[in-house]
């Protein structure tokens, strides 16, 4: 569990090493659980679709039938993971060593590593702020993990958050059913968030919202009077200690609760992640969703 601590991960330089550390540590803690299947037991044949790794084509079957089939194993059932990473400026906030953006990138890298290296799933990445900044098409090809990790390395926070516009573009990208993981701090009204993400669910994909927040954002503590400066808009608001202790906490708690309720109502998974918490909760959530799809 020590290797899942974000503060420890922050000291590791490469995202590939972070992902490997997280996933291997996570798997080591599963104790041969058969539920999530990492065996090599044959499951089925599946018709080849463009983008599949040719190494998995059963050439014997092709010789017999002149049709391309992929040999699938239990635990390697076809699934497509698409990670939507919010890289807006609000994600650069940190009250301790790990920024929200770093936490989200660790998590995205770990999910992709788990999917590509362990589950043989196709994995892709969409980096967005107020528009789609980067897009790595889901694939299982060799080198896909490094492409995803390279894109994550470059996903430094900037600009503002606007979910609606970029997710409209993402709808065009996501054509195959799969698992869509949205990593964001969701600083928009819950109704708008759900309204923007819900169309992805309609295409048959499982959507999980990982709400990444810093502990300081949930329990704002200031001494005396302060002027808070918005990281995205630069707006300044003088805030008193009394307001932060009472009104703000009520509002952020209500916001999270409403977002969870609306996400549940729309069939979207929701999990609130604090940047001080280990990453295993998110990985478990992902595997649970994946198992549900299988």
């Amino acid at each position: 569990m020590r290797f899942l601590d974000p503060a420890v991960l922050a000291a590791i330089s490469g995202l590939d090493l972070v992902a490997q550390t997280v996933v291997e540590g996570f798997i080591a803690g599963l104790h041969r659980s058969a539920d999530f299947g990492f065996s090599q037991e044959f499951a089925e044949y599946r018709a080849y679709v463009p983008g599949d790794d040719l190494r998995h084509v059963d050439w014997n079957a092709f010789a017999r039938t002149e049709r391309l089939y992929l040999k699938r194993w239990r635990g390697e059932t076809s699934s497509v993971l698409t990670v939507l990473l919010d890289a807006s400026n609000s994600m650069s906030f940190a009250s301790h060593a790990v920024r929200k953006a770093d936490y989200a990138r660790f998590l995205a890298a770990s999910l992709c590593y788990l999917a590509i290296r362990k589950q043989r799933d196709a994995a892709g990445l969409v980096v967005f702020d107020d528009e789609v900044r980067d897009y790595i098409r889901p694939s299982t090809r060799q080198g896909q993990l490094f492409r995803v990790l390279a894109a994550l390395e470059q996903a430094e926070p900037r600009a503002r958050t606007r979910l609606e516009a970029p997710l409209k573009h993402v709808e065009a990208f996501v054509r195959r059913r799969g698992i869509i993981v949205v990593l964001s701090d969701f600083y928009e009204p819950p109704a708008a968030v759900v309204r923007a993400i819900e169309p992805l669910r309609h295409r048959g994909s499982e959507v999980v919202l990982f709400h990444v927040l810093d502990r300081e954002e949930l329990q704002l503590e200031i001494g005396g009077s302060s002027v808070l400066v918005d990281l995205e808009s630069g707006a300044r608001f003088p805030v008193t200690q009394e307001y932060a202790a009472r009104d703000y906490r009520e509002r952020i708690t209500a916001h999270c609760k409403e977002l969870e309720e609306r996400a549940g109502a729309a069939g979207l998974g929701y999990r609130l992640l604090q940047t001080s918490q280990p990453l295993d909760a998110a990985l478990r959530e992902y595997l649970a969703v994946r198992q549900g799809r299988d």
């Binding site: 609000s90 994600m91 906030f93 929200k100 701090d185 600083y187 928009e188 810093d214 954002e217 704002l220 200031i222 001494g223 005396g224 009077s225 302060s226 002027v227 808070l228 400066v229 918005d230 990281l231 995205e232 808009s233 707006a235 300044r236 608001f237 003088p238 805030v239 008193t240 009394e242 307001y243 009104d247 703000y248 509002r251 952020i252 916001h255």
Partner: protein
């Protein structure tokens, strides 16, 4: 309540700064970056209101700091009556002993008034006696010793210097800077108008000095004077031409008798009509002077209010002309002609010239000659060249004119330096070269403008001849930079090189007026005959030695016959200020004996006093609380101050119950203001730390 330095009150305007910071400038607060302000509202009115209330206290303290600081620097004070004992003061008695105070017993009158003032002085008052002329001399320190003060006043003797009220004001400014008590300056003077500086501001006195004037000669007395005498300092013939200017100051038209004295004996007398307050010139064309240094004078009869300026002393030195040796080529008849003509063209020919051709120079000894000129010679007989080199090495001087013949030899005699390529300007487009730069500091050169129009067709190659070395001096260069005149030290003597001839062939210099002046000055320089002045003015300085005459003994005897320099000072003194009129005898470091005639500055002869309004203005600058007694001493009144009137502050406040005058005591509030400032600063620091400390902690 008043302020000693009210200008510092302008610092109160600085309160605008905290006002701006507190009220106009937006409160920045403790800034923190945050993810989103989505759940925040600027609802902190109550907190802001509370903070402003606190900040008003801080603002008030900061304003108080600035105001109290400005007050402290302005040095506030309060005056309140009641103290019967007047404060201490320093009486400064300035007695004018300038030359004009010799007129009509003015100095005696000034000393008498000063003694009266000292007699009426309160015993607790300190006093100081100073003598005023061109400079201020403190005769006593600030003391209460009446005997010392009276002795100092009585010791003052009439001087010959010029009075300067600017010097008095300057001394008072220095004294006021170091003196804490008020100063009462009593000036006993004839208030001569010529003693004023060009700018009245130089007479301004500091505020702590109260000026009380004691004019001893409120009206101008008519005075005739020998204003100046124009006479040669040195002659080489039997007679000299002497011209004297007789001036009248506030005088009617009158006939005066002017006598010319040589050695105390009247040798000529003239009658002159001097117009009303005007000048007349008297000339003696041939004043017979015997050999040696003659003490001469011009005397005016009959005497008047200031007899001391009716005689003007001067000296004339008569000697035989010095001999010079002119060596030329046998074929050259032109250069000796031009050179000798130039030497004789001056009013008083100081030299006689022995001309000799090079082929007859073998047996000539240059030692008796004041200078030697080698005019464009190619070769010299060996024995003569050896003697000439030794002559220069021992301190003699030689002028070598390098024409075309000398250039052919390729070397410079005596120096044995090689000549470079000659410059033949006649073959160039311009056909000639002009003088480019001339150093007027060199004794023989004169101003550069005098050389305009002189054409040089040929110049020897001095630039490659070693004269450009560091030890050489090149005072004149041609327009193309080629050296024309250069001086090279050789042993104890000097060799002056002229890169052209004296024969009107290689140049047309002998045809220009500058040639006469150039040859005269150059030969005097080579012969070591500096221009001698016939008379000097009191307070001038005289040089006692040149740079080469270190450690040589000098002795000076003043007009009273007293030796001015001790043995130690005589070996070290470089110059001496002439402080008395009369004849100074000097035994200079060079071994030469000289007599200098010194006369008082004739601006002292104008006895007109300063206008009354100027005097009133001067008193006004001394102190805003000018004493009433000052007015009673104004010019035009004969009222001399009595003992009971001497205290300016007494007269201001009136007499007290016991005869002691009532005073307004001044109490400085500076220390109170500083204490208040310290308290305000501490309070501001405490308030600021308390209110702003939370913000720092939060950051």
């Amino acid at each position: 309540m008043g302020f000693l330095a009210p200008a510092f009150l302008l610092g109160i305007l600085g309160v605008g700064l905290p006002l701006y910071l507190h009220l106009l400038r937006r409160q920045s607060g403790n800034q923190r970056f945050f993810s989103s302000l989505m759940f925040l509202e600027p609802r902190e009115e109550s907190a802001v209101r509370r903070r402003r209330l606190r900040y008003w206290l801080l603002l008030a303290l900061r304003c108080a700091v600035l105001i109290v600081a400005a007050l402290a620097f302005a040095e506030p004070y309060i005056e309140r009556p009641g103290a019967a004992v007047p404060p201490d003061r320093l009486l400064v008695l300035a007695i004018d002993d300038s030359f004009s105070m010799r007129a009509g017993g003015r100095l005696a009158e000034a000393k008498r008034e000063a003694l009266d003032l000292l007699a009426a002085r309160r015993s607790r008052d300190r006093a100081q006696v100073i003598a005023l002329s061109s400079a201020v001399s403190a005769l006593t320190p600030a003391t209460r010793d009446a005997a010392e003060l009276r002795a100092a006043v009585e010791s003052i003797a009439p001087g010959d210097s010029r009075g300067s009220f600017a010097a008095l004001a300057s001394a008072m400014r220095s004294l006021a800077a170091s003196e804490r008590t008020p100063i009462e300056l009593h000036l006993f003077s004839d208030m001569q108008r010529t003693g004023m500086p060009p700018s009245f501001a130089e007479m301004a006195l500091p505020a702590s000095v109260q000026l009380v004037l004691h004019p001893v000669a409120p009206t101008a007395a008519p005075n005739w004077a020998v204003e100046s005498v124009s006479a040669p300092g040195e002659v080489w013939s039997r007679s000299a031409r002497v011209q004297a200017v007789i001036a009248g100051y506030g005088t009617p038209a009158a006939m005066r008798t002017v006598s010319f004295l040589v050695g105390g004996r009247v040798v000529a007398t003239r009658q002159v009509s001097v117009p009303t307050s005007g000048r007349a010139v008297v000339t003696v064309d041939a004043l017979d002077v015997p050999y040696g240094l003659d003490r001469c004078a011009v005397r005016l009869d009959p005497t008047d209010a200031l007899p001391a300026d009716d005689e003007y002393d001067f000296t004339i030195g008569r000697s035989d002309p010095r001999r010079g040796l002119f060596v030329h080529q046998a074929s050259d008849e032109r250069s000796p002609l031009y050179f000798e003509t130039a030497l004789r063209a001056t009013d008083a020919a100081a030299f006689t010239l022995d001309k000799i051709a090079t082929d007859r120079a073998a047996s000539v000894d240059p030692a008796p000659y004041a200078f030697v000129v080698l005019s464009d010679v190619a070769t010299l007989p060996g024995p003569f060249l050896d003697r000439l080199s030794e002559y220069v090495r021992r301190g003699g001087s030689v002028l070598i004119a390098l024409g075309t013949t000398a250039q052919q030899s390729g070397r410079i005699p005596i120096l044995d330096a090689k000549l470079g390529a000659a410059r033949d300007y006649s073959r160039q487009a311009e056909r000639f070269a002009s003088v480019g730069t001339a150093d007027p500091a060199y004794p023989a050169v004169g101003s550069q403008g005098q050389w305009d129009g002189v054409k040089f067709y040929y110049a020897a190659g001095l630039d490659a001849a070693g004269v450009a070395a560091k030890s050489a001096r090149v005072p004149v260069r041609l327009a193309d930079g080629a050296p024309l005149l250069a001086e090279q030290p050789f042993g104890e003597g000097r060799v002056v090189l002229l890169a052209s001839g004296l024969d009107n062939v290689t140049n047309d210099l002998p045809l220009h007026p500058v040639f006469v002046a150039f040859i005269d000055r150059l030969m005097r320089y080579l012969a070591g005959m500096e221009a001698r002045s016939s008379a000097r003015t009191v307070d001038e300085f005289v040089e006692l030695r040149t740079g080469r005459e270190h450690a040589a003994g000098v002795q000076v005897t003043d007009p009273r016959g007293e030796r001015l320099l001790s043995l130690g000072a005589g070996t070290a003194a470089d110059r001496l200020q002439l402080t008395r009129a009369g004849y100074y005898e000097l035994h200079l470091a060079s071994g030469r004996r000289d007599v200098i005639a010194v006369n008082a500055d004739r601006r002292e002869s104008d006895l007109a006093p300063m206008p009354a309004e100027v005097l009133a203005l001067w008193r006004g600058t001394a102190s805003s609380s000018a004493p009433a007694s000052g007015a009673s001493h104004a010019p035009g009144t004969n009222g001399a101050p009595t003992g009971s009137q001497t205290g300016a502050t007494e007269a201001q406040a009136g007499a007290g119950a016991e005869g002691a005058p009532l005073q307004r005591s001044r109490r400085d509030l500076w220390w109170y203001a500083m204490a208040l400032l310290l308290a305000a600063v501490l309070a501001e620091s405490a308030a600021g730390s308390r209110y702003l400390g939370t913000r720092r902690e939060a950051s």
